[in-house]
Point group: D2
Chain length 248, copies 4
């Protein structure tokens, strides 16, 4: 049995993680803490892997603290910068036996859409990204859409493709945001949750890859997969991105 502790257990995502761990036959829920609780209750003696779904302002300190106590961590909180990731890498390096996994998106459909896009990008003249979310999201475009656009741009460069054809002379903003040469559009619509559609086009043909995350339950298989991977002891240091844990 993998013993799992949850940081941010009273949050919406954390609460889903608690339920998912309780429902997993190969896991048992150990300690749950939330804002103000302190992390001292989570130790290597009672925890194989901690899961952090808190807030961008707290997650770095949480991870550094847990790692310094010898606990591996799966992180679903967003807001990571290169500098912060470096701090985690350094901390994990000092504590052999610990490992940290950070993913911007735990939905398998989204991770696959992102991965497939990097492959398809090489074979198409045109590519654009449309992400769609509920209207309470404060940032646009989504981090996932930016990641997808950058992956497409990199694949195009490697394949020697030039810039994407576009004769638009005036657009009033309708052509969206250019991310590394790829147009990205963000839709906000009541009823939606988190969705991404990637369009590729050649003369006479189109390829569309779409990932729909209808609710938070879609992230749980990815979280549990990450917990199992870290608890296996096969992964050392810092791993970023669920694609590393899929057999791609």
């Amino acid at each position: 049995m993998v013993r799992v502790s949850v940081v941010g257990a009273h949050g919406r995502m954390g609460g889903n993680v608690v339920k998912a761990v309780e429902g997993a036959k190969d896991m048992e829920l150990s300690v749950t803490v939330d804002a103000g609780d302190g992390l001292d209750a989570i130790t290597p003696e009672n925890t194989d892997v901690a899961v952090d779904f808190t807030v961008p302002s707290a997650t770095l300190d949480n991870v550094l603290s847990l790692v310094s106590h010898g606990v591996s961590v799966v992180v679903g909180t967003t807001g990571w910068t290169d500098d912060k990731l470096d701090q985690v890498r350094e901390a994990v390096g000092k504590h052999p036996g610990t490992s940290v996994f950070i993913a911007p998106n735990f939905a398998i459909s989204a991770v696959l859409a992102d991965y497939f896009s990097t492959i398809a990008a090489k074979y198409f003249e045109s590519a654009e990204v449309i992400e769609m979310h509920h209207p309470n999201k404060v940032d646009a475009p989504s981090g996932t859409a930016i990641h997808t656009a950058k992956g497409i741009a990199e694949a195009r460069r490697e394949a020697g493709l030039g810039s994407i054809p576009d004769d638009t002379k005036s657009d009033g903003g309708s052509r969206g945001q250019l991310v590394d040469g790829v147009h990205v559009h963000a839709v906000r619509l009541r009823g939606l949750n988190a969705h991404e559609e990637v369009l590729f086009g050649n003369a006479g043909e189109q390829l569309v890859i779409r990932a729909d995350s209808f609710d938070r339950s879609s992230f749980m298989p990815g979280v549990l997969l990450a917990v199992r991977k870290l608890s296996s002891g096969k992964y050392q240091g810092l791993t970023v991105g669920l694609n590393n844990f899929l057999d791609l």
Copy 2:
């Protein structure tokens, strides 16, 4: 038999009209002219309805000339302003028996999508418009998308709906162009022709209306319908929009 003359017969759309008229059992092709030809060959004696698919800089003069000679006209050329439409209205008023029909879009799917959007708009909290075209189109968003967005905005006002919910704080341009309070996005992709998707959302539900025009043949049923309507003599003056000729 309805006798049809075509202005701009050598253009891509005009060429399609020539073929469509030749293929229609109730029509016969009369005169075809193109840039530089002059319009004198088209007279009430040989033409029931003329069809103009030329360029924005020529179409107003074409229509005024044809009407002054007593010939009714179906116009598919774009670029019409309120002022130009007024000139046509005035000219038609002076020549009883003539009528003019101008449509920004002859595809029945697009006309219905536009019409359905004005109905649906009253019942949903959110609405956005995405139009998709080939990358050689120079303007964005399409005139059809702007028309749809304005129709949605007007229907929302009449229904007493407030502004569309959107908590976005920063978007880098990804949220597209605001047309009368409705976000409009324009995609340009090789392989596509002319497409529009309208999204409506309430808590827990979404309605999507999508019109695809895969090639120019999609406009011909609408053109022939307009020719038949004008030749029937039932329509006087200037009519704008194919929706007026559908039984909606």
Copy 3:
């Protein structure tokens, strides 16, 4: 304040209705009953409108009992036949002042998709229906898809359209079920809830109308609308279909 009682209050839909009524500013929750409780507690003295979300085997008796006691009813339970509807009509006719509303689908997106399909059907050579649901649904295709297909077929007949073109010689069942000459396909997929997509095609163009009901919350605006309509006293007798309460 409209006083609302709920029959089947412990069921999943009934529970949602209880919450929706409690959340509506112009309504107050009166009596809630469930299987085994009997309906005597619901009277005209404490209830303006009762809402029944029970099971097909119970709903007719519930409605007849409530009406006989002078209570109007909004019914979301499925399984209604013409014969059962006639019994309700007769009962309501004997108890002036009562009215009954029965809807096969309370999602506004689904009702509009169905309505738009009857309009579009007249203008397209081809039409097909695809419904998509979660894999625990036991019947296929959905009642909504059958209703949509029949509406399309009727509109085509009225418009004098012949049969839908189809040169298929062998299909191994892949062409789906013919409902009144319209092909209907049913998809069952984990993660989906209740969705319908209607495709219309002419040479060179396509119109797609899609309704997505992501969860039960999508039905509540329709239920509350029906409650308000019945409580207004403007509707007499039996009304079937939410389209009657929309301004279409």
Copy 4:
């Protein structure tokens, strides 16, 4: 310059190949033949690669004849069985220096959709295939859809996934055709050409992969790619499937 001869040059696909070869800077058109012409004009002296787009009843003889004369062949004609493929393999084996490439689908979007489906299939509880074509197609479902469904089924078996969940008790044919345990649906709609949509679902999420082939021009990049690959001399014997020529 790669010298290309075309068999079936007057057919619709063959005519497109002729144009595509003429438009390719690294190719020159050599001999074109059609039904009744015989193949003797095509020799290793004037042809590096022949392209066959004829009919199922003629293509095997064409390929065997060309190979026996020492000419490599790219084949786009359908109707190949295991037995026929074996005959080609045997013939190519007897004529060193020749190679044959046969593809059921030359559209890159379709080939990628098929390939991505085999990867995604391992990670989802549910999967279904919907193919959509013009109504003049006589067989259903398409060979591509069958291939995709079989690939999904095989990937699920390898991943140890059980059968796809489906509680349907009665469906009147709406659930489509079972291909190796995967439901396949075929839509026929005027205005469409050749399209495939593959749906994958887990609790709370969906992945959709869609390939649209709007017209025959979509096949030409794949045909030219195959011609280049065979002319490179790197491929020996019989190769089946464009995926072998993509860098996947």
